[in-house]
Symmetry: C3
Subunit: 189 residues, 3 copies
Amino acid sequence: MGRTNNFSSIAFFLLLLILGCSAAPIPKLRARPQPCKRMVFYFHDIIYNGHNSKNATAAIVGSPAWGNRTILTGQNHFGNMVVFDDPITLDNNLHSTPVGRAQGFYLYDKKDIFTAWIGFSFVFNSTEHNGSINFAGADPLMNKTRDISVIGGTGDFFMARGIATLSTDAFEGEVYFRLRVDIKLYECW
Amino acid sequence: MGRTNNFSSIAFFLLLLILGCSAAPIPKLRARPQPCKRMVFYFHDIIYNGHNSKNATAAIVGSPAWGNRTILTGQNHFGNMVVFDDPITLDNNLHSTPVGRAQGFYLYDKKDIFTAWIGFSFVFNSTEHNGSINFAGADPLMNKTRDISVIGGTGDFFMARGIATLSTDAFEGEVYFRLRVDIKLYECW
Amino acid sequence: MGRTNNFSSIAFFLLLLILGCSAAPIPKLRARPQPCKRMVFYFHDIIYNGHNSKNATAAIVGSPAWGNRTILTGQNHFGNMVVFDDPITLDNNLHSTPVGRAQGFYLYDKKDIFTAWIGFSFVFNSTEHNGSINFAGADPLMNKTRDISVIGGTGDFFMARGIATLSTDAFEGEVYFRLRVDIKLYECW
């Protein structure tokens, strides 16, 4: 009798667990999960300033009425849109062999402080990685680190989703910016 | 004997359930699911028009060859790109304490009627919310409501996905626009 | 006694299975899965060039300092941003009845070769499809096919994710481009 009861209650408990498990929406962990893939890269942005057309990897292509497209405008560059095609390296050396290109745009979007919105892709074409990772999000430049979204991927990064933590690793005036990107994927197919 | 059979069949039934549960692809509901999180906010867009640089929260930064960047062009503003940094409020009052900033851009993309494409983030920094929500999608402005995608999130909104329903809550000429955003997340981590 | 042991071990086995099942991360297939939805469309981009304002469906709205907004600039159009509102058709005929509009932007982002970054939506309004599909990604135009991400959807395409394979189906000079889009959704709600 006791055993029957035990059995029933264990079965019932299992059933509850199973139902909880099979019911959509899929249960999500409260604790932040571990990434299924993590990678760190650097990319190097050299903004055209009228004198560096040979080396420049980025150019201002939009500006507000009060600005121009050669020099970043006042008011924390508010309204400047920059298009870039920057080399991606595995370490923080601009002259290391690139493993791909960071391609896309950013726009300075605040008058009071430096902050930007960024949409871009990492396009890989190396022995190690093929495919692309797509990013979008707010980039409050003055913060030591800032998180943007990995919104998709192709090839080796098919259907990827996750978070990329950006940090400004170095800069020279308003011409050279080196960004460190710590990519943490939480959906890997 | 009877109990053994019962036990076996229950175990088998449980096993089937478990196998059904563990098999990828993840089962998706046919019926539209309930959001795992729902929030309503307002944001306030004041477009620079040459006379309001103190109050403006947005500026035209791109225009077609036939337009300029001070006044929205004819042909339903086709080709105008606007960058914005707008206050987010909990109610429809421009002067309420902001809970964050809506930052990004929209582009008017049709000659015949007003319609736009929008990419932006909600950047929260309040006692209640920290983190960001990233949005993208078509915004046919003349529709009473229009749905765009929540393509990702960070911080409190880590890995969020969902739908945001935009509606124009009020406007004054071509300078002030108040948007209501009904955010429905269907993936909450 | 034997039965008790059996029972315990089966229960333990079930429990292990359940725990394996309920633990996030959700198991993902190793082999590339089959799409849950697949659709092919064409869209037609006619870029304004100063002489075709009646037919043009796209216009240059951003350019680098060395370019203008009437004619695509040299250096592989690096820095040109184009806004578009293009008809979507089921076949490769520009004059077929459109089933929706492709709306968004692309930017040429490399000096050495043609390559672009693209963010846009398919906005459907036909008897067959209602809703929108949102896309973003790198578009290396010179490749026969290139994959971008489906980052979300609304209406019939609620919460969609997947891959879209673009190919240039035809072009005439630098004015008309016909794109074929093979949409493969891997998340269908």
